[in-house]
């Protein structure tokens, strides 16, 4: 069991002149959820497609459970599951038939393929809808069916390429729960996401990509600590009072505050009295404060400080 589940070493993939993946290395072991985090075009999907044997690498090496993705592609394919960015289910088939088809393609005998389909249908809460065509499913049901389809062959390594894109928060949580349970069972999960929250919730370890390169890696906590300590956040009721708030924050923290378009003012708060003093001053100035407090840096802050640009925000609305 010493063979890493996923091993990527100096991987390069070019498309014409574009170096979509430009020499990245990382590895993951069984039972680990590894998050590949990065904006659109950072090379996440390309990396997953190389690992899933859909795309040959241009340079470097990638192996799954010790099997090279090029030389030993068939061995890789028999031990992985893939859920791509688009729900890869057949809309004309019923949920059950989608899973049955995959089972048959994996050479399960008919009865075993049927049993496996039923088992997964039940596990993913699709029992009621099993006999309906997948085209009638909601986005969340489709995603769950898609995830179920990638599990028919009991993969030891699972690739999830932006598994919750376009899902509402409820269904996102359902997918997250499933992923956690798979990892508990010893499956290695490589998850790509643009959503820092998702990476924070699910991944044990993170690899941050930007423009095809690894710009940081470690646990979420390690990455957060790189950005520094707590930050003071103040959001005035009236955004036009942000300048005044910023002046107060600057005086009380002794740091240069950042004013966001929403009117929120943030600054590093090294001394513990800064929050109390700022609050008192703002009361004295007659500024109505909507929100004030100390926060640990979020992964968003980490991303911003690593890449110099903000990460995407989840489309699912407020959590």
């Amino acid at each position: 069991m010493n063979t890493p589940a996923i091993e990527v070493d100096g991987l390069v993939r070019t498309f014409g002149d574009v170096r979509a993946v430009d020499g990245i290395s990382f590895s993951a072991h069984r039972g680990q959820v590894l998050g590949l985090l990065g904006p659109n075009g950072s090379g996440k999907t390309t990396t997953v497609r190389v690992l899933a044997t859909l795309l040959p690498p241009s340079g470097g090496r990638a192996a799954v459970l010790g099997h090279d993705v090029v030389a030993d592609a068939a061995a890789v394919r028999s031990r992985i599951g893939l859920t791509g960015q688009y729900a890869a289910v057949d809309e004309a088939l019923t949920g059950r038939d989608n899973l049955y088809l995959i089972g048959r393609l994996l050479d399960l005998p008919r009865a075993a393929a049927r049993a496996r389909a039923t088992e997964l249908i039940d596990r993913f809460g699709l029992t009621e809808a099993a006999g309906r065509r997948a085209g009638t499913y909601s986005g969340g049901m489709r995603r769950r069916l898609d995830l179920a389809a990638s599990l028919v062959g009991r993969p030891e390594v699972l690739f999830l390429d932006e598994p919750t894109t376009g899902l509402d928060p409820l269904h996102r949580n359902e997918v997250w729960d499933s992923v956690r349970r798979l990892a508990e069972d010893g499956v290695a999960v490589l998850l790509t996401t643009q959503y820092l929250e998702e990476a924070d919730q699910l991944a044990h370890d993170l690899v941050v990509l930007d423009r095809g390169r690894v710009i940081a890696s470690g646990t979420a906590a390690q990455l957060k600590s790189r950005t520094g300590g707590r930050r003071l956040h103040v959001r005035p009721e009236l955004p036009r009072e942000a300048a005044l708030v910023a002046a107060v924050v600057a005086q009380e923290t002794g740091a240069d505050p950042v004013v966001e378009p929403s009117g929120e003012v943030t600054a590093p708060a090294h001394d513990h009295g800064a929050l109390r003093r700022t609050e008192d001053r703002l009361v004295a100035e007659g500024v109505a404060v909507a929100e004030i407090g100390l926060r640990l840096p979020s992964l968003d802050d980490v991303f911003l400080s690593l890449t110099g640009h903000a990460a995407a925000t989840p489309s699912g609305g407020p959590r």
Partner: protein, 274 residues
Amino acid sequence: MTTTLDTPPTPPAVAPSAPARLLPSTVRHGLSLARRGVVTTIHSPEALLDVTLQPVIFLLLFVYVFGGAIAGNSADYLHYALPGVLLQTVVFASAGTGVGLAEDLKTGIFDRFRSLPISRAAPLVGAIGADLVRYVSSGVIMLVFGFALGYRTPAGPLGVLAAFALVVAFAFGLCWVFTALAMVVRRPRSVQGLSALVMLPLTFASSVFVPTGTMPGWLQGFAAVNPVSRTADAVRALLDGAPAGGAVTVSLLTSAALVVIFAPLAVALYRRRT
């Protein structure tokens, strides 16, 4: 969502089953995927209408709108046009193969298939297998409806079967052209548009709907070399019980040439398209 989790990740459940090994895996998996394709067609209203209603409408329109003007009366025209419309219907259905593949490639379901330990050609074999079922269904509907309208042939069941096989063989050859096109063009709608652009001149500038004698010389020249004409002539001759050897040979050679040239091309493009 239920919370039972009873699946240890090892050993992999992909244990090959002995009886399933009787067929080569490409065929076995291709058949599974072809079954999927057929179900997909049955459940897609527009695809089903393409297969069922379109041949009926084409035959009605051609026989009753153009028939009298072209041949003096609809009955005579039905006799001339049925073999042509049969061919045209199945040829148009073969263009649908490209559109269907482009759709599948867009949705990502092919990524799933290709990440499975199955032959890389199996999804293509499945798609085309399902479409052969579609061609045959369209053709049968067309023939049955033609008979209902009063079409009669002196050719026996064997002659009809031979004519039918020729049409399906031609469509099978052509479908590789559209498959290759789908791999290059990618957008389903563009595939559809381009296919129509190719198919309309090929079917109309031919002996499919009218004898070519009244066409200007240059068009007659085109119609004479147009493989669709040659196939239409062959089908017509077979159904009329007339000597058909030459036209049949040309048609079969054309179909074979299409397969030999475009099948490897389509497969190569499909493999590269990742």
